[in-house]
C-alpha cells in the first residue's frame, strides 16, 4: 500500500485540513493509501517507507521522494489541479 505524508509547520492546523482532503480524494479515486499527518520537521526521518509528501508549508530541505506543495487546499485557488497532481503521483 502507498503511503502519503501530509505535513505542515506545527502538524496541527493546515495539515489537518489537507489530510482530510487527501483521504477523501484517494477514496473517491479508488486509490488505497495510508495518509499520515506530521510536522514537516519529521518528514526527513519518515520518508523512507513513504511514496509522496504533501506539504502546506515550504520544504526546508530536499527529500528522496516527490513532494507537492498543497497551499491550494487552504486558499481554494486551483484545487482541482492539485487533486490531479496528487492522483498522478499515486497511480
Amino acid at each position: 500500500m502507498k503511503k502519503v505524508l501530509v505535513a505542515c509547520g506545527a502538524g496541527i492546523a493546515t495539515s489537518t485540513i489537507v489530510c482530510n482532503r487527501v483521504e477523501n480524494l484517494l477514496k473517491e479515486n479508488g486509490i488505497e493509501a495510508e495518509v499520515i499527518q506530521c510536522k514537516i520537521s519529521e518528514v526527513a526521518t519518515r520518508q523512507d517507507d513513504a511514496d509522496l509528501i504533501v506539504s502546506t508549508t515550504i520544504l526546508p530541505t530536499q527529500y528522496k521522494i516527490p513532494a507537492i506543495i498543497a497551499t491550494a487546499y487552504i486558499t481554494g485557488i486551483n484545487m482541482e489541479a492539485l487533486d490531479q497532481k496528487i492522483i498522478d503521483h499515486l497511480k
Binding site: G9, A10, I12, A13, I17, N20, R21, I58, I74, T75
Partner: protein, 156 residues
C-alpha cells in the same frame, strides 16, 4: 465543535493599530496570556515558527494570516481575531521569499487537531469567502465580529 465555539469575545481586536508583525503578536499574546489561554513560552514559539514556517495566505484580492504554534503551549483552545487599521507584512506560507500585506488575522490556539477538523474547515471556508472577510473588516465591535462568525458553516 464549530469555529464559533472557539471565538472568545475578549480575544477579538477590531481596527487594531500596530506597526509590525512583532507588535501584533505581542499585543495578541498579552491578551491571551493574561486570560490564561496560553503559556508564557507561546509568544517566543509563535515568533520562531512564523519566521521558519510563515502563515500568510494570499487569496489574490486579499490576504489573511493564520499564525499558530505547537499545541503544548496552549492551555485553553481559542481563536483570536484581529482586524488591522493598517496592514502588516507576512511571508507567504508556500513561499518565504514573497510577502503579502495582511489586515485580517486569525491566531489559532489549537491543541487537538483531529477533533478540531470541523472548526478548521470552517476557518478555510471563511478565509476563502471574500464577502465574509469584507464584512469582518468593516465590523466596528467584537460583538459584530462574533455575529458574522456565528453564521459560518463549512462547505466541505
Amino acid at each position: 465543535m464549530s469555529l464559533y465555539e472557539f471565538i472568545r469575545e475578549d480575544l477579538i481586536k477590531v481596527n487594531l493599530t500596530v506597526d509590525n508583525q512583532d507588535q501584533l503578536f505581542e499585543t495578541l499574546f498579552i491578551e491571551a496570556y493574561q486570560r490564561g489561554y496560553v503559556k508564557k513560552e507561546y509568544l517566543q514559539k509563535l515568533k520562531e515558527r512564523e519566521a521558519v514556517f510563515p502563515t500568510g495566505l494570499s487569496m489574490g484580492e486579499y490576504s489573511v494570516a493564520i499564525p499558530h504554534t505547537d499545541p503544548e503551549f496552549i492551555i485553553n483552545p481559542f481563536i483570536a481575531v484581529a482586524t488591522l487599521e493598517k496592514p502588516v507584512a507576512f511571508h507567504l506560507m508556500e513561499d518565504k521569499s514573497k510577502q503579502t500585506e495582511v489586515n485580517m488575522i486569525l491566531m489559532l490556539g489549537l491543541n487537538e487537531p483531529h477533533s478540531q477538523l470541523k472548526m478548521l474547515q470552517e476557518i478555510m471556508t471563511l478565509i476563502q469567502d471574500k464577502s465574509k472577510i469584507e464584512q469582518l473588516l468593516k465590523a466596528q465591535t467584537p460583538i459584530e465580529v462574533q455575529e458574522i462568525l456565528k453564521k459560518i458553516e463549512a462547505h466541505n
